[in-house]
Amino acid sequence: MNEMNLLEEFRAVVAPPDEVTLTRARARVLEGGPAGWGSQRARGPRLPGSWPKLALTGLAAAATAAAVTVALPAQGGGPARPAAANPVVKELAYRVAVAAEARPNVQPGQWVYWQETARSSDTPVGPGPEGTFQVWTTANSAKAAYLSKGKVVFFPCGHAGSSSGTGCQSIGQPVALPAGQGEAVSGLTGKIPVSYADLSSLPSNPVALDRYLASLPLDGWGPAPVRDFEIIKELLTTYVMPPALTAELYRALGNIPGMAVDYHAVDVAGRHGIGFQITLPRTAGGEIDQLVLDPKTYDLMGQQLILAPAAGSAAGHVLSGTAILKTVLVSGPGILP
């Protein structure tokens, strides 16, 4: 060994950087500003108004904490200004968008097989074991079907060919449950705020998209950031969209003020994932609404409503949620992948 070998060895013992450090640095770079992530956190004044601004705690804590957010209580004083998107969330959302863009294109009438499991306060909701159910929808959710005694039955969603053409475009996936006289259908309540046909006319700029979605007149959907998140969540869990549109929605998700990332999310099927989440206002229950993604592929895994830290020992308890076990393009309703 000569001095160069010794130097190389001296270099080789250096510990590799941890993922959180690099993620933080990457976000800071892509933000591009001289302040960067750290100084934004340090200098941010508390915002007026009742909606709390969320900020990241020290990222070292992220490795052990269930979620990496803490709510800074809003206080008066200082001029009002829009809350900023969290760069770490934005960075992850943009990565998810890149993965979404790489997926194959889907036609609106393409049939999709969904296998899901739903739970409400630990109680299975679906008819199958552990609350599983299967349903077929077209990518645009204009039609939906299920299997009953081996036969394909269409959900009664109105005429998909009507002037509105929205058919089964209600929030989430419908479920057929066993009832005394056959099956009862559920999950068809609540019209999805944006029809599939209107998706292509949404603004392509993520900030403009957020602004547009938050401006939709939806009573009871909460303040603008929550409304924005809820709409995006419903679109992602209801439709199978063209990759570019899905990517736009994820980018918009990353720009919502108050969004946080939970690197230790667990969906209702017990699978580990990454959660994009927002805390609902106290007047709406104060829970955490979460969208769970596969940490490697960034495929959508499901959504859930969780009790927030304010719930004390019950914090983290899932009030309700759905896990998507399979989403597969198939040739028609009733066809299994």
């Binding site: 060994m1 000569n2 160069m4 060895e9 950087p17 892509l30 890149v98």
Partner: protein, 209 residues
């Protein structure tokens, strides 16, 4: 350097079919997010390079600073240069040189205490067969002391090569002709040998390279 070490330090993401750095940087002028792929390829190596010279805390900070500088200057990058490695190491080296006193203090602290704050506490030292941790620690301690007394220019040249850069890349990173780099290296290695004294252990090759 063993083949395994050399392979481990190749930046990821340069497999066949992947756009090279030049193309990514050019694209990032229109779509800034594309620069993220350049970061993904090189950040870990740059972090290690800085951590070796200033410690991990400084590296956490300066790796972002390096890429921020690169991001702001990306418009001037020659897209025909397929690898951004020399460019990024050059930026990192200039940032490190601004903290040359910290660097000297860092190396002196290792030399004094034998404790290397940049080292992975769980990893065995990457040494040739049979070298025990204690031996490696002693060698590293003396090496750190020797590095502390080198000039910045000599240390830059040595540590860029130790990081796996070729002569050509190191010269490019420092903005000097390859001949100048060779001269610096020859001088630096001679000084290092003098400082190390009898430390040229387990010298099974003993050969100059």
């Amino acid at each position: 350097m063993s083949h395994a070490m050399r392979v481990a330090r190749e930046p990821p993401g340069t497999e066949r079919g992947q756009p090279d750095d030049g193309r990514l940087i050019a694209e990032s002028c229109r779509v800034p997010e594309r620069f993220g792929a350049v970061f993904d390829r090189h950040a870990a190596a740059i972090h290690g390079y800085i951590a070796r010279r200033l410690g991990r805390d400084a590296a956490d900070d300066l790796v972002a600073e390096t890429f921020l500088v690169a991001f702001r200057r990306r418009g001037g990058y020659d897209p025909d240069q397929p690898s951004a490695r020399p460019w990024l190491y050059g930026i990192a080296t200039r940032l490190v040189s601004r903290r040359r006193r910290d660097e000297v203090r860092f190396f002196r602290a290792i030399a004094r205490s034998g404790l290397d704050p940049a080292a992975d506490p769980v990893a065995e030292p990457v040494a040739d067969e049979g070298v025990r941790r204690a031996d490696a620690q002693t060698l590293h301690r003396r090496l750190a002391g020797a590095l502390a007394v080198l000039s910045v220019a000599d240390r830059d040249a040595l540590l860029l090569l130790a990081d796996g850069l070729s002569y050509q890349e190191a010269a490019q990173a420092l903005g000097v002709p390859p001949g100048t780099l060779s001269s610096r290296l020859a001088r630096a290695r001679r000084k290092l040998r003098e400082e190390l004294g009898d430390v040229n252990p387990h010298d099974e090759t003993g050969a100059e390279q």
